[in-house]
């Protein structure tokens, strides 16, 4: 048994086997070889094994999801058998006298490029299939036979670091918790853990040997226990059962109103990062969605999502939520959220750089495509639009103009849309200072406490070294929030909090007394916050 202390993201316990997520398998080195014949044989053997794997996957999928879902593995098998693909591998091995891994990776890159450049979306998406088969063969050549994510057992994900794009693509249904070596408590991995309501630890030295080992994440005390003794395991199983029991008690708050003891109705909303999170919004009985991060549509792709794609995603969420409010935040890309095709370039200080509304106002076609998609979805429910990273009244006026232009374009096409509330994120000190003027332009404010803390305290939230002084309870931050609420209310603007602080139960009472009208939290935090709202008296 070994105990590793780390920084905890969520006070929950997880018990399960570790799956080590390694990036190495995507990096292939180019090595010279002399026996090209033997290298070709190596490839043929690996290819055969890959075909076997695909066959097994096909059979398994056939049983679980049926013919249509399984067909993809059959197609992968046939691509692997494709003459052009194999000739290319052979050519590279022989002409360049290089290792099979390199030949397969290069071939995969070339063919997937071919598909990526086609002008039809369906065929563009096939580039991922080519990459997938190439990676499968490379993994086998490297001797890493293990199939990731194929067994049915839930697991604890251990990795050196996780990029937002990786967490987006991950199958989250089997995830018990995260352990990473790098990253800060405000990274997007941490946000994902909070959204999923699963424990995560950072700052733990990880290694590939941990793969397959039994581990406990103790999010309450902030430690990971590797290969626990029987007694320790038993103790944690009990603790876990107790916390489950408390969750059951919280379930009784479902269907109850979010109203304080003295009768103020609070909008208790949930934050989501994709369509998949809607189920947990409903199961935790949130009144609406206070922050729908639209980035996933952009991060998951290799090129700009179309109006239709975006519309379908927004509509799915809006329709599912029925009459409940869904506030969609327009594209907040840049800084730590990058998509290659935006070609944002390197910045020395991306948090203060070219991001969010700044990109949107600078590239209005991308912005208007999104606005049209949101407007189209608004015909199906109750939609709000929220603009991020605002620092001036001018920006808000321009964003609103683009929305009007988007409406006019839809009018021309005869497409109907609903009434949408417009609001802004308050996440820069500048927006707090001029919140009185900004409030005249919009229907609501939503305070993004993560960035607001970072900019107010001048502390980079990605810098793990500064985690100890990154204090979101800092009086300056709390005063910023109070000021925003006061100025918003003067102009009949409702004010909410959608940052991590909104879910901080030690501050809920403080916020309610400040007059905060809305709290938007990760779905798993809705019921604990409801419990506090219902036990708080605003006016003593």
């Amino acid at each position: 048994m070994k105990v590793y202390p780390g920084k905890s993201i969520l006070k929950e316990i997880a018990i399960g086997r570790i799956q080590f997520h390694s990036k190495e398998e995507h990096t292939v080195s180019r090595e010279s070889i002399s026996d090209t014949k033997q290298e070709w044989e190596r490839y043929l053997k690996a290819k055969e094994q890959a075909a076997d794997e695909l066959n097994t996957l096909y059979e398994k999928a056939l049983k679980e999801v049926g013919e249509t879902g399984a067909a993809i593995f059959e197609v992968h098998g046939m691509m692997l058998d494709d003459d052009d693909f194999n000739d290319s591998v052979k050519n590279i091995i022989e002409a360049q006298e290089v290792n099979a891994e390199y030949a397969v990776a290069s071939t995969g890159d070339n063919f997937s490029q071919m598909f990526a450049q086609m002008d039809d979306e369906y065929f563009q998406a096939r580039s991922a299939d080519i990459k997938d088969i190439a990676e499968r063969v490379v993994r086998i050549l490297l001797g890493k036979h293990k199939e990731q994510n194929t067994d049915n057992e839930p697991f604890i994900l251990v990795a050196e670091d996780l990029a937002p794009s990786e967490t987006v693509q991950m199958d989250k249904s089997k995830l018990l918790g995260f352990v990473t070596e790098l990253g800060s408590s405000n990274s997007h991995t941490a946000i994902l853990a909070r959204t999923m309501n699963i424990p995560a630890l950072i700052g733990i030295p990880v290694s590939e040997e941990m793969d397959g080992m039994l581990a406990i994440i103790d999010g309450v005390e902030g430690k990971m226990i590797l290969e626990p003794d029987a007694a320790v395991l038993e103790e944690y199983r009990k603790k876990k059962a107790e916390s489950e029991k408390r969750k059951v008690l919280l379930q009784q708050l479902k269907g109850k109103e979010d109203i304080t003891l003295d009768g103020k109705k609070i909008r208790l909303y949930a934050n989501i990062g994709g369509i998949g999170d809607v189920a947990s919004v409903l199961s935790n009985d949130a009144d609406g969605i206070g922050l729908f991060r639209s980035e996933f549509l952009y991060l998951e792709k290799e090129t700009y999502p179309t109006e239709e794609e975006q519309f379908q995603a927004y509509r799915t969420v809006v329709e599912t939520m029925g009459k409940k409010k869904v506030i969609i935040r327009t594209l907040d890309i840049g800084a730590d959220k990058q998509a290659d095709y935006f070609q944002l370039g390197h910045e020395d200080n991306p948090a203060m750089g070219y991001r969010a509304i700044r990109i949107c106002l600078d590239r209005p076609e991308i912005f208007k495509t999104q606005l049209r998609a949101i407007l189209m979805a608004s015909a199906y429910g109750n939609v709000g639009i929220m603009y991020p990273m605002i620092i001036s009244v001018e920006e808000v006026i321009r964003a609103k103009q683009y929305l009007e232009e988007a409406k006019a374009q839809l009018d021309q096409r005869g497409i109907r849309y609903g009434e949408v509330e417009q609001g802004i994120m308050i996440e820069t000190p500048a927006s707090v200072m001029i919140s009185g003027q900004l409030a005249k332009e919009v229907d609501f404010f939503s305070i993004g406490t993560n960035d607001l803390t970072q900019y107010t305290l001048a502390i980079d939230r990605q810098n793990a070294k500064l985690d100890n002084i990154y204090d979101s309870h800092h009086p300056a931050v709390l005063e910023m929030i109070r000021m925003t609420v006061e100025n918003g209310h003067k102009e009949n603007c409702w004010v909410g909090i959608c940052g991590e602080l909104g879910a901080d139960t030690t501050l809920t009472e403080t916020f309610l007394k400040m007059g905060v009208d809305e709290l938007s939290v990760s779905p798993g935090r809705v019921l604990p916050i409801r419990e506090i709202i219902r036990n708080t008296r605003i006016n003593p």
Binding site: V75, M78, F111, M118, D119
Partner: protein, 85 residues
């Protein structure tokens, strides 16, 4: 040499799955079967190349079969296209 024309009816065009089935069908014959359309052409036995043609609904396809069993090959391909694409 046997040649015939066909216009793709399938909503998605020659997408992965039917392309795979088409390759299987083509490989049953000894004759060299070639598909041409959309300004490109490909050997009917090569899946990636066929998909690379990007044939959508409405695309005009010319199929050529050349070899000892060309008659049978062309008939089989036509039959396949009619019932699947």
């Amino acid at each position: 040499m046997k040649t015939f024309q066909y216009v793709i009816q399938d909503e998605l065009g020659i997408h992965a799955r039917p392309a795979g089935m088409l390759v299987k069908e083509a490989k049953k014959f000894e004759s060299k079967i070639t598909l041409a359309g959309n300004g490109k052409s490909a050997d009917a036995g090569k899946l990636i190349a066929i998909m690379g043609m990007g044939l959508k609904k409405g695309a005009e396809l010319t199929v050529t079969a050349e070899g000892p069993d060309e008659e049978a090959a062309a008939n089989a391909m036509e039959e396949f296209l009619r019932s699947n694409l």
